[in-house]
């Protein structure tokens, strides 16, 4: 399968990338590792007329200890995040989840920024950043903008980024009090049929679900119940509340609701709750 024709530009800096987007508008797509975008282009589900390849902008590949939080460059590859000692120490959930994405070849190419900007509800990292209560930083023609993860995922493959913006940094609070990611798949490398992420941050418990709707979602009812003193088992029973999960070859909506409850119970237990 071959993508439809496009023009290819390779900016030499972040500023050049922002200019290229400003010039081409929504005709253009950013290319990082390409492991979300190229498969869609090969199926002709995406046919951008210009690809702006930012994959080599080393300035956007880093994991920095920023005091109360970690700052992760958008072009940090899953492989590097998984093995990064700072991430392993201060945000072990993120490091663990990065190592559960796809397979080694995918992790050698895919980036955290690409995964989040693509906003696929079946992806692993968006739910992890949601559970952690992270913040996304975007650079546009007017400068930098911070977007809370809770407001970033707006629809199926739809984020709060404007066509002129580049996602540059992912910020997550340091969280070492316990975490878990329960990912249900039939084959090791597959997308999660359903996943449940638990992060314990500053006495709060964040819970987010993968592939149960058009966006990754916070399991609000579970979080509220836990904050109100419910046991982990009682709280997990509420994981499917308000969900309208999709039906596909892998699961019916009812099976997805069941998985949300079971995986959340397992994840809470694994996180020590």
């Amino acid at each position: 399968m071959i993508p439809a024709s496009f023009d290819y530009v390779r900016p030499g800096s972040l500023d050049e990338a922002v200019s290229a987007l400003a010039e081409h508008g929504d005709e253009a797509k950013l290319l990082a590792g390409g492991h979300s975008l190229l498969p869609l282009m090969k199926l002709r589900l995406a046919t951008p007329s210009v690809l702006v390849d930012i994959g080599r902008l080393g300035e956007l590949s880093y994991v920095n200890d920023a005091g109360d939080h970690l700052a992760i460059g958008a072009l940090t590859r899953h492989h590097d995040l998984h093995h990064d000692p700072v991430a392993m120490h201060h945000a072990p959930l993120l490091s663990f989840v990065a190592g559960r994405i796809g397979d080694p070849q995918v992790r050698h190419r895919g980036t955290i920024g690409g995964s989040i900007a693509h906003a696929d509800p079946a992806s692993d990292l968006p739910a992890a950043v949601l559970a952690l209560g992270g913040t996304l930083v975007a650079r546009g023609p007017g400068g930098d903008r911070e977007i809370p993860a809770d407001r970033f995922f707006q629809g199926f493959l739809e984020s709060a980024l404007t066509p002129e913006e580049v996602l540059t940094e992912i910020r997550v609070p340091k969280a070492t009090a316990g975490h878990a990611y329960q990912k249900f798949v039939r084959r090791a490398q597959d997308w999660a049929i359903v996943g449940s992420v638990v992060a314990r941050v500053d006495g709060r418990v964040g819970v987010a679900l993968v592939n149960v709707g058009p966006t990754p979602v916070r399991a609000d009812a579970v979080e509220t119940a836990l904050a109100g003193g419910a046991s982990a088992a009682e709280a997990a029973e509420l994981a499917a509340e308000g969900l309208e999960p999709p039906a596909d070859n892998n699961a019916t909506p009812e099976f997805r609701r069941h998985l949300a409850r079971v995986l959340t119970a397992r994840a809470l237990a694994e996180a020590g709750l």
Partner: protein, 157 residues
């Protein structure tokens, strides 16, 4: 657009369409047909090659993304008549049945062992999650990779 890639130690410069995928560049521009196309959807791993020493699925990389980089395909592993230790291990353990997945399996295994030579069976099975063998011949593949990893630790690579 013009791209310049080092493939198996030889530099190749070609004019390509931006949409050219690395696997078709290797197979059709350079005639290196050892790299197979399997699923063409980033699932099966048959098209795995090394880019700057790391395994990638060449059906999901543009030739433009590989511009200026170093690629190793199955044709580039052996030193003349001398098989690479991973190839030798696959032969000794009969780590193949129909052989279609083999080039990708060998390249993924080389990347895996290079990254972490100290492997046990679980690590090998997890490390080869991105490569499917439709003959289900995993048992001997895993034995071959474990053997090659041992030879790597003993300094034979």
């Amino acid at each position: 657009m013009r791209v310049k890639l080092e493939v198996n130690g030889v530099t190749h410069e070609r004019e390509v369409e931006p949409r050219t995928l690395l696997v078709y560049f290797l197979r059709e521009e350079l005639g290196l047909t050892g790299t197979n196309v399997g699923c063409d959807t980033t699932s099966c791993g048959a098209c795995t090659v090394l880019m700057d020493g790391e395994s990638v699925k060449s059906c999901t990389v543009l030739a433009a993304q590989a511009d200026g980089r170093s690629i190793t395909t199955i044709e580039g592993l052996a030193e003349g008549e001398e098989l690479h230790p991973m190839q030798r291990a696959f032969r000794e353990h009969h780590g193949l049945q129909c052989g279609y997945c083999t080039p990708g399996m060998v390249m993924a295994a080389v990347s895996l062992v290079t990254e972490s030579p100290d492997l046990d069976e679980t690590h090998v099975r997890e490390g080869l999650e991105g490569n499917l063998c439709r003959c289900t011949g995993y048992h001997n593949i895993v034995a071959a990779v474990l053997d090659a990893a041992r030879s790597s630790r003993e300094g034979a690579w």
